[in-house]
Symmetry: C2
Subunit: 404 residues, 2 copies
């Protein structure tokens, strides 16, 4: 007989819809008669080891619905990446509170944490069901058609580039927009969905799946600028040279590293500024502007894909159903079943944990600086309904009188 106690937590970078998954877990769990208490941990695994827990059974359904529609992690998040000892501490807290169902909403690192905690429970013959619920704007979880959070961030990026293209057409020059994504270029590639007319930008897209060479880059920019009289460029923050060294490290002398030992890429405009300086200096183009989309792309309120919101809710609900009626621990995965429909399944934690998906080759054009129609077909339904559309005036030139 289960203790009926559940714990849910949120890890890693927030998304626009991660609270949908939280609400999905809590509301679905409270529907089950076997569930007595639904706890949440503040700031992910850190809140678990510190026993910083809240009782979500006492939250109103109405407020949970309102929180579901609010971006960023309502329980708080963490960048901690637990090692074995940390995971053992997590397990000790779960045991002390008699929690038999643990749900962790996060990326591939979070899946790895869930995997280790589940193993610890098994070793101790403790009846724990541990379920990983996918979330990441990077779309880099294996075994998933896509991950909740990515579609809304992709929508932001597409809308941002649609606007940047219009702005650049009004005041021509070169525009560089730097998009999040360390290893996976999905989010940067989403910029292509902001294009409508054939000469619209982004005219060039650089993803971490391809080696970045500054000379090649400058030649690309020059060719586009000569052709269109302007150039809009989407660049992933994770672009790197042939040795795998991030381009950003070529600029910054003092580079910050995160808890995972990775070079800090976000929260600085340095990469965009570096690329703009190169273009100005070597191509002698005057009007060159760079923007780094930074945290806006994952936390802007009011840019959510309804498809993403719905699926993020469902992966939370499904997680509870797998835990209650299923056989064991695992990671909820989204499978595409039609154009456009999805279904869910529970995959083994080891299939997701610590692994990184990158853009499939068929999504990247032969030039390496554009996406394919296959990618457009893949991404468009995820962006949801009500995507803004751009229109332009048709050319009806007036004959010149003075300057003929």
């Amino acid at each position: 007989m289960s203790s009926g106690k559940i714990l849910v937590a949120q890890g890693g970078g927030p998304t626009a819809v991660i609270n949908q998954s939280l609400a999905g877990v809590v509301l679905e769990a409270r529907r089950h008669h076997g569930v007595s208490l639904v706890y949440g941990a503040h700031h992910g695994v850190r809140g678990i080891v510190n026993e910083d827990l809240v009782d979500l059974t006492r939250e109103t359904s109405h407020n949970l619905e309102m929180v579901a529609g609010t971006p960023a992690s309502a329980l708080g998040s963490t960048r901690d990446k637990p090692d074995l000892k940390y995971c053992q501490e997590i397990f000790q807290v779960l045991k002390a509170h008699a929690i038999e169902h643990f749900f962790y909403i996060g990326g591939n690192d979070s899946a790895d944490t869930v995997r280790i905690v589940a193993e610890e429970a098994q070793k101790a013959a403790y009846p724990l069901r541990a379920i990983h619920i996918p979330k990441t704007i990077d779309n880099d979880l294996v075994g998933n058609d896509h991950t909740p959070g990515f579609p809304s961030a992709a929508r932001f990026v597409a809308q941002a580039f649609a606007g940047a293209n219009l702005d650049n057409a009004a005041l021509p020059g070169v525009y560089v927009g730097v998009v999040m994504g360390r290893h996976a270029g999905f989010l940067t590639a989403a910029s292509a969905l902001g294009k409508k007319f054939p000469d619209d930008g982004p005219h060039l897209i650089y993803v971490p799946e391809r080696v970045f060479e500054i000379d090649r880059f400058l030649a690309d920019v020059k060719a586009m600028y000569d052709k269109h009289g302007r150039c809009v460029i989407a660049v992933s923050e994770g672009i790197h040279d042939a040795e795998g060294a991030p381009i950003i490290t070529k600029l910054a002398a003092d580079v910050e590293k995160d808890a995972h030992g990775n070079v800090q890429l976000s929260g600085s405009g340095a990469l965009a500024d570096l690329l703009c300086e190169e273009i100005k200096a070597r191509l002698k183009i005057k009007r060159v502007r760079g923007d780094t989309f930074g945290y806006l792309q994952r936390s802007f309120v009011g840019c959510v894909s309804d498809v993403d919101a719905r699926e993020a809710r469902e992966v939370g609900e499904k997680a509870v159903q797998y835990a209650m009626w299923g056989e064991g621990s695992g990671s909820v995965a989204i499978r595409r079943t039609g154009f456009y429909s999805v279904d869910y399944e529970l995959q083994p934690l080891s299939a997701v944990a610590g692994k990184t998906r990158t853009m499939e080759d068929e999504f990247i054009s032969a030039s390496g600086t554009d996406v394919t129609d296959q990618f457009r077909l893949y991404l468009r339904p995820l962006l949801g309904s009500g995507m803004p559309d751009a229109f332009r005036l048709r050319p009806n030139p007036v004959p010149k009188i003075l300057k003929i």
Copy 2:
């Protein structure tokens, strides 16, 4: 008897609703029986002197409506700031094409151009009606309650900070968001409208109307960080020291200047990066992130205030009515008449031209780092309907078992 020929053009930085004003001019003008042809100039005054004109009479009403809903300047814009000789060239083109009504949608520099062109026409006894139609995200035109384009940009900034605050609460640290605005802090101050709960960010707001001192800034940040365990900061790109030198010049050795002789503030992440480095180095806070909102705040598609769109359309329509039925040239101005209602009037071009409005003292708190309720009352109705709202979980702590 009028020639019935009209010319409209767009100058300065694009906005989310400047095409509403364009559509307002064209559709209203085509309604008047005295009007035979409606021309548009590509890229503002530059297109006029180059006779790069299009016949908007041949555009469909339907497409004009679609273009009206599209951000950025559909005719193209320019940063040219005409001197007397340039204005005389403009007048020669108007005369050659027998244009007797000239509409220029732009900021205070554009108003100045309209003023000089109108004077040239008067000197030549040429029957020109020249009307300036207000537009600027900076909200820095005198004689206007507010200017079209500002409300939508303000909405973007408010939504961006609402999201940044949630993200920062989930992963605590210091967040610096740099907002456009050289002399006027209205847009930066709009960040305050993203606040809901008393401890929400932005916790500090720095506008160009107050002198920026780095030591005072660091003390402010430390106090807020000590109080909340985090700090969200809105900074105007135009912040300057007591001598009026932009803070950005203290960092960048090689500063770009625009056609108006101003230091280039946008299109670079340098100011945010500088402030973040100072906070990291001197306050020893580890997680410090900076974003520069850049061109997103004026060109993002899908973040438009319906109030702004409506008013931008009306100033275009009113401009034509003033030209057709009024007494002379002028600048259309928005007056607030109630809570919330507006009306329009034509003010003399000299009242607007080349002048800059900054934030009124009663809009800035005594601390100099926050806005007043008067500002909230001023701005809220402009943001329009459907503003996203943020919700949070209520605290229901679970008693600790292990760590008591």
